[in-house]
């Protein structure tokens, strides 16, 4: 599928790397994501690149590509464990900037492309334009 179908194609196409990388593919899967207090929060499914542009100004293209994608986890346990590991090592002041709850939902093949989960159960998802995948997600537990 052409890159122009991605939701953030304008940025992805401007990078001097393949974005998403060639190993990304369409997959139907249950996925878990850190979200804020309410599932309706518009920032829940907004990539970090847009939430916080200063953090990426001097980043290499591969990082910018990753940052216009969304982080998901393969299992709920992976999502909780990674949150605990990461926030214990972050300044207390910014811990709640990355999420407060876990949400569960389904990603369809028509929603976008993702890579295989890494050893931490984490994978990145690049949504297609007009995908309504976010509507499938519901909060399952507090972090």
């Amino acid at each position: 599928m052409s890159k122009s179908t991605f939701q953030y194609a304008e940025i992805m196409d401007s990078l001097v790397v393949n974005c998403p990388p060639t190993e990304f593919y369409n997959q139907e899967t249950i996925a878990f994501r850190w979200v804020f207090e309410k599932i309706e929060d518009e920032e829940n499914f907004l990539p970090q690149y847009f939430k916080n542009p200063p953090r990426f100004q001097n980043s290499p293209p591969s990082i910018k590509c990753q940052s216009v994608g969304l982080s998901f986890f393969h299992t709920e346990q992976d999502a909780v464990h990674r949150f605990q590991i990461l926030t214990a090592r972050m300044a207390e002041k910014v811990r709640n900037k990355i999420g407060k709850n876990v949400a569960k939902g389904k990603l369809d093949k028509s929603d976008g492309e993702c890579n295989k989960p890494d050893t931490k159960g984490h994978f990145t998802f690049h949504p297609y334009k007009d995908s309504a995948f976010a509507n499938n997600f519901q909060i399952t537990q507090k972090l």
Partner: protein, 173 residues
């Protein structure tokens, strides 16, 4: 944003080059930099508002970094045992410009800028760059030997015995 008790500098009198990230989740959280003299700085994302992100930079010795990767010190100690006794708090705006530089003594770093006491290095949870640096430091400190000076009259004690007696004894074993 926390109000800081420190000295505001017009700019830094050295430049920093980013080497890689230690922790990353949809963006950098903890990173490694070096200055013009190849000295090590660790940077921590500690605060933000709608205009800037604030990063805390501390200069650290290689040995302390090695201790961190060996789990002898945690992230809090990595910050507090910095070389200078102070940290640089840098505010970075939306254009990536370093708009404010504040020098804050260790004692005046806000408590909310520290991670928890359980912030030891953990294999498999840091970025690949951190794992590579860990291996580099392990090699670096494994190679180092302490050299002791000895008095001249005692040097012969470190040599093999003269006259072949040593060799003979070995053969007789």
């Amino acid at each position: 944003m926390e109000d800081l008790k420190g000295i505001t500098l017009p700019k830094l009198n050295f430049s920093l080059k980013k080497m890689g990230d230690f922790l990353f989740h949809e963006g950098p959280i903890q990173s490694h930099f070096i200055d013009d003299k190849n000295e090590n700085f660790i940077a921590f994302w500690v605060d933000e508002n709608k205009i800037v992100n604030r990063w805390l930079f501390v200069k650290v010795e290689e040995r302390l970094l090695h201790q961190f990767f060996s789990k002898a010190v945690n992230t809090v100690e990595l910050i507090k045992k910095n070389v200078d006794g102070f940290a640089y708090l840098i505010d970075i705006n939306g254009q990536g410009e370093w708009v404010k530089h504040q020098l804050v003594s260790n004692a005046d770093i806000p408590t909310t800028y520290f991670p928890s006491a359980d912030s030891y290095y953990l294999e498999g949870h840091y970025e690949a760059y951190a794992e590579e640096l860990k291996i580099y430091l392990e090699h670096l400190f494994a190679r180092k030997r302490v050299i002791y000076e000895v008095r001249e009259e005692t040097v012969s004690a470190a040599h093999e015995p003269l006259g072949g007696s040593f060799e003979g004894k070995k053969l007789g074993l």
